[in-house]
Amino acid sequence: MIDEPRGPVHRRHDTILEVEDVTKHFGGVAAVDRVSLAVERSSITALIGPNGAGKTTLFNVISGFIAPESGTILFQNERIDGKPPHAVAKRGLVRTFQITKALTKLSVLENMMLAAPDQPGERFWSVWLRARTVKAREIEIRQRAMEALRLFRLDHLADDYAGTLSGGQRKLLEMARALMTRPSIVLLDEPMAGVNPTLGKRLLEHMHQIRDEHGLTFLYVEHDMDVVMTHSDRIVVMADGRVIADGSPAEIRRDQGVIDAYLGTAGAPR
Amino acid sequence: MNQFVQLTVNGFVAGSIIAVGAVGLTLVYGILRIVNFAHGDYLTFGAYMAFVANVTWGLHPAFAAANAVVLTAALAVGLEFILWRPMRRRGAGVTSLFLTSIGLALVLRNAIQFVWGTTPFRYRINVFQSYDLGLFRISQNQITVVASAVVLIAGVGVFLSRTRTGKAMRALADSVDLAAVSGIDTNRIVTWTWVLAGSLAGLAGMLLAILQASLNPNSGFNALLPMFAAVILGGVGSAYGALAGGIVIGLATELSTIAVPFQYKEAIAFGVMILALLFRPQGLFGRARVV
């Protein structure tokens, strides 16, 4: 799905995503307040914090759905703040949504094929003037999509309307679809919410596998502290729109501020 | 200068009718999320009910007004029970309801035309009396319209701010979920919203027919788009916004004739609305919504 595996990834200490001093207010309240963080290439970073901490808003700002009032966002050393979501996605930063946006009136396979970034047939004139190329690409894309669906064990649902999938299956579909875009970094907004533990575990396994084999970077929002402690290289903690801690799981576990602000409610049902 | 004052007076009078009609439209829009395309035809219905009382039965205009109010309110409530509520219960979405209201508009307008024909009618009231006040002229009709509108608007204002039902209506128009949580009986409020919207529409229809000194089956529909413009200008769901919006639209339409040939003045109302949508979509009194 993402071309051939490149073998074991050498951890290069380069920053793929750099958020610097980003602020966004809504009606007087700072939803995101001078947030800075740096994400290393090929890392798995967890973004945690209580409800209302600003995590989804931060995702929206990074992915271009909301423009920041101040601050900059660098992705692969290019500024993306203020760029619309489709432009950011085309550069290789893709995100999923807290409430899944599986396109219910399209089939599972169509959802996947839609995400492929290199289909000239999506341009009006190519439909008529490059019909053969378009057709060939469709076949390639379908193959790639089916492979991905097989990996996520959704292939038997390929021709079903995405609307018939369960919540957990839709989360998997959204993740698989995001990967079809050949991204460099994937932002997952609560990928495990509402997903049964078996599917959730599978999702996490996929995340590690894809990172290990292809060097993809992951930044995900999560509430389950057990998951976060065992499935991340780094943890960023937010509260009230600010970053209050940023470090390895071991460091975070010891951080008093975090314990006070948040870890006390760890594991409590949302 | 005289022309300016005259146009302002005319604009205010016309605007007050738009305002009265728009209040009902905005409340229904805000609370039920229904863009009621048939609202204009509720006005027409009211105008014809007044006609029946005034001309067919020979009653005094005050009774005609009462007739217009009561019967249009009854129409609005009746439709809520036989059409809107069942559709909402079946999960009809906003677009479905909008399309339904278009169908309803067609039915109402043409039923009226079927019964009364297309020839314009007139009420049995004095249309020729007018007063020259130096700076401007004002006709008896215009005075009636603006006086009635002012009374109505004041009444509506009191109702919305002082009575429990009125306050509940405003709360609902702001946010249906919040209001439901706070224990308000949404169905009852919805019914009362239609009563209010229907009454105002019926009266606005009669006032419109008085102002224009004639009524025909299309009268109300022709006022519909200016009313929508007023609603959008004032901010959807805001009754006060609709009132202000109506006056603004009325003034803009009349005053525009200073610069623009009068045949185009209807287009001006639409132009104002489009500008509002482009630069301040939440309207004058609305709150900017988060994406």
């Binding site: - | 309801l97 169908g103 043409n110």
Partner: protein
């Protein structure tokens, strides 16, 4: 009884219905692309048809352009208007877009009504059909000699309209089944999802609006040659609503449903105009017009209440549950 059958069997009657149905089909196909596939609540569709009709007529009468060139420019003009209206309007949320597009079509109608020098105002435009009537007569003669059937102007128009309906249908079918169409359908359902996958929603919606407007202009051109004159009253919002009923009747998103819906609509519409049996015979023209529209309104309500997916639509793809 023979009187009834006589009316039903009249070839002229069915020809007229068929031409009307064809014009409605073209008009509604444009709307189907815009709403059924791109999800746009365009309630000003008739405005673009008016731009098509009047641009062509004005170019012929005032600039003496030949029919083909005038028609081509008219179609392009309508498409450009689609872009001009779309750029600001398509950013608005759905209900505002609906109201804005109606306002737009009314602004167009008001301008047409009052630009007497160019459009003839309420009197309308005459005298643009010279080229066409020559062409139509010549074609009629050719077809007559080939088939040994007489080809009056209505019949010629019939032969011209329906192949275009088919052509537009095939073009749209190809488009909507292509990857382009897939992006459109995604945007229709959830533009944020499409945006997050690298597709630019505004860009696609503009294309749908422009193409749909061009198709409306094509319908306008045929409409002009059916009537042989133009007047502003032919371009009221009512006609946009007819297109909506046709699209909804055939099924939102079902291209093949549009010609079917158009035929049904044309039969109801034209049929009640000419049929003379009881109880229709009790009503005069004005009343019949009113009854016709009441029926249309009731059909619309019934569709929304009981079968929103129309005749051929699929419930799973229903766009109207928002």
């Amino acid at each position: 009884m023979t009187f009834v059958l006589g009316a039903f069997l009249s070839i002229d009657f069915w020809q007229y219905v068929a031409v009307t149905a064809g014009i409605y089909a073209i008009f509604a196909l444009g709307l189907q692309l815009e709403f059924g596939f791109a999800g746009l609540l365009n309630f000003g569709h008739i405005g673009f048809m008016a731009i098509g009709s009047y641009t062509m007529a004005i170019l012929i009468v005032h600039a003496s352009l030949p029919m083909w060139l005038a028609a081509l420019i008219a179609i392009v003009t309508a498409m450009l208007f689609g872009l001009v209206v779309g750029l600001p309007a398509l950013r608005l949320r759905a209900d505002y877009l609906a109201i804005t597009t109606i306002a737009f079509s009314e602004i167009i109608r008001i301008f047409i009504l009052n630009s007497v020098r160019w459009t003839g105002g309420p009197q309308g435009v005459l005298g643009f059909a010279g080229d066409y009537t020559d062409f139509s007569a010549a074609l009629g003669r050719r077809l007559s000699s080939l088939t040994h059937i007489s080809f009056d102007p209505d019949r010629v128009l019939l032969v011209l309209v329906w192949p275009i309906v088919l052509l537009i249908y095939l073009v749209l079918r190809r488009l909507t089944r292509s990857p382009w169409g897939r992006v459109m359908r995604a945007i229709r359902e959830d533009e944020d999802a499409a945006n997050a996958l690298g597709k630019n929603p505004l860009f696609y919606k503009l294309q749908a609006l422009a193409i749909g407007s061009g198709i409306a202009a094509i319908a306008g051109i045929f409409f002009s040659y059916q009537l042989l004159y133009l007047s502003p009253t032919s371009f009221e919002p009512l006609f946009t609503f007819f297109a909506w009923v046709i699209v909804l009747l055939g099924g939102t998103g079902r291209l093949g449903g549009v010609p079917v819906g158009a035929v049904i609509f044309a039969v109801i519409f034209a049929g009640t105009r000419f049929l003379e049996f009881w109880p229709l015979s009790l009503l005069d023209d004005g009343d019949r017009a009113a009854v016709r529209l009441i029926v249309v309104g009731l059909i619309l309500i019934a569709l929304m209440a009981f079968r929103p997916q129309g005749i051929f639509g699929k419930r799973e793809e229903l766009l109207l549950d928002r």
